[in-house]
């Protein structure tokens, strides 16, 4: 029951997201560690579970990837800008996996360098999680995915999440590279059409 508001003899411990502990600044480092520990307790097991669904037993080993994702989060200066740690950790973990494929890593680095030379300012601002799409748009993305035929989902899983090259997908499934490319282009067109609606 919410009590009658009475500010007199209380020092309220207001807890704000991103500024979780209203403690003296001298405690900032300790509080940060404590906060990271609690994030770990709250999300580690579930993150490993999600990664296991994508990668199976590995490689990459889901536990290693989850640990690496937490290390990345621990390096961030702007922890307070992450408003959904669960989604952010999963995104980070998947990116770590994509980067474990040298070809993909090289291309990703190239794209980043191109974008940075063109949009230096804007990318700076995007350090943490600010690029996340809104909840309703993500729900629309999910809506499209749910209606995709199994083949397109399979290709999406392999390319976007497992970080397999088209040639690797071809070797395991027998689908041609041109077919894989065509299927993914279709999926992307559907997604954009839904989001632009």
């Amino acid at each position: 029951m919410q009590a009658k508001v009475n500010e007199r003899d209380r020092s309220p411990r207001t807890l704000m997201p991103g500024d979780p502990m209203s403690a003296p600044l001298t405690d900032a480092a300790r509080q940060r560690t404590s906060f990271l520990n609690s994030l770990f307790r709250l999300h580690y097991a579930e993150l490993v579970g999600r990664l296991r669904k994508v990668y199976g037993a590995g490689p990459p080993d889901p536990e290693d990837v989850a640990q690496a994702a937490f290390s990345k989060i621990a390096e961030l200066d702007d922890l307070e800008r992450i408003h959904s740690p669960r989604a952010f950790l999963f995104r980070t973990a998947v990116n770590i996996c994509l980067n474990s494929n040298d070809k993909l890593k090289r291309s990703r680095a190239f794209v980043r360098s191109q974008l940075e030379s063109n949009f230096s300012q804007r990318l700076e601002e995007k350090s943490a999680e600010s690029v996340f799409m809104g909840k309703q748009d993500l729900e629309r993305v999910a809506h499209v995915i749910r209606q995709l035929p199994p083949k397109q989902r399979e290709i999406l899983l392999r390319s976007r999440f497992r970080g397999q090259t088209y040639d690797e997908i071809r070797q395991e499934t027998g689908w041609s590279q041109a077919d894989i490319s065509r299927q993914l282009n279709k999926v992307m067109a559907l997604l954009q059409a839904e989001l632009d609606r």
Binding site: Q2, G49, Q114, I145
Partner: protein
């Protein structure tokens, strides 16, 4: 008539569509692991060629990136049972059942003669919000009702009166004044009767809270036979064992902040906060029997940052938060 410039607009939008398709193809090509040095040079040239190209690329890339942020994407993509495995969340599932339309079709079916013997048609209302959704509805009398997450409101408007029932959750009522048709809200074990006013009601399994923002209301508890008039800034709580509480004052900026998507609590017990969080959390939050349910906290946070707040609680208070597949469990911590 074709307005001037229509054709050029059409071709401009065709141009945009083509550009978007090229941008998507580049995103995919550069994620394929098959891109060549020549591809990368061509891409750099295309990207630098115009701001429109850059924007189109950014957009396409953001779609590709967003795939990783879809909740439960791993279940969606593993095509076995992916539909049933997926936990639907916050889809816009507001249900409408507008009795006005039902009454109208009844009138057509039964003919005018029958209708003349009847009082004017009753208007039946049924509104519900999904978890995480906050929705403002305008009723036929000009009143508006803002429903919090996971809330349900039903009602009937007749020429003689207006009756609403808050079945679950909470709602802020801004009721249009109508001397001839007073309005009553039923909820839990209390009735709230008004002419025209603004007030807030929250209904829980074990209590009901009514807070008046403007004007006055009369709260009655038929079970205990008690009643109380409230004016602006006053609040009352009713539970099955004690009936109506003493009248309290409240801070509207805290108490009513949920309407803009922010939950605020001053010295409130954890179990009370968890009940409110559950109107907005994707996964239900449960208090284990060992959890310090009566721990009193002062908190303020946006409804989309519940996970973050729980992590903060875990760090700062003797509670442990365990995130599981289907729920979030709060237990005693150190």
């Amino acid at each position: 008539m074709t307005p001037p410039g229509e054709n050029s607009r059409d071709s401009a939008s065709q141009e945009d569509n083509k550009r978007a398709a090229v941008a998507r193809a580049w995103v995919l090509r550069l994620s394929s692991g098959e891109d060549t040095e020549a591809d990368r040079l061509a891409f750099a040239e295309w990207l630098a060629a115009s701001d429109d190209n850059k924007r189109a690329y950014e957009k396409a890339q953001s779609i590709w990136e967003a795939l990783g942020d879809v909740d439960g994407i791993e279940n969606l993509l593993l095509h076995r049972d992916s539909v049933t495995e997926f936990r639907p969340r916050n889809s816009m599932t507001r249900r409408f059942l507008v009795g006005g339309a039902m009454a109208a079709s009844l009138a057509v079916a039964t003919g005018i003669g029958f209708l003349l013997m009847q009082p004017a048609p009753t208007e039946t209302l049924l509104y519900a919000t999904a978890t995480g959704e906050i929705e403002t509805i305008t009723l036929s009398d000009g009143s508006t009702v803002t429903l919090g997450g996971a809330s349900e409101l039903t009602g009937e408007f007749t020429p003689d009166g207006r009756t609403l029932e808050l079945v679950s959750g909470n709602a802020y009522f801004d009721i249009a004044r109508d001397e001839a048709r007073p309005l009553t809200v039923h909820t839990g074990d209390v009735n709230v009767r008004v002419l025209g006013t603004r007030f807030d009601i929250k209904t829980r399994t074990d209590f009901v809270a009514v807070a008046v923002d403007h004007g006055h209301v009369r709260v009655t508890s038929p079970a205990t036979g008690s009643r109380q008039d409230l004016t602006a800034g006053e609040k009352i709580v009713s539970d099955a064992t004690h009936g109506l509480s003493q009248v309290m004052t409240f801070d509207a900026s805290q108490e009513l902040s949920w309407r803009s998507g922010r939950l605020s609590f001053v010295d409130a017990p954890l179990r009370y906060i968890v009940a409110d969080m559950n109107q907005y959390s994707d996964r239900p939050i449960r208090l284990s029997p060992t959890a310090p349910a009566d721990l009193r906290l002062t908190l303020s946070f946006p409804v989309d940052q519940i996970e973050q707040v729980l992590a903060g609680l875990d760090a700062a208070y003797p509670v442990a938060i365990e995130s599981r597949e289907d729920d979030i469990l709060i237990t005693q911590g150190d």
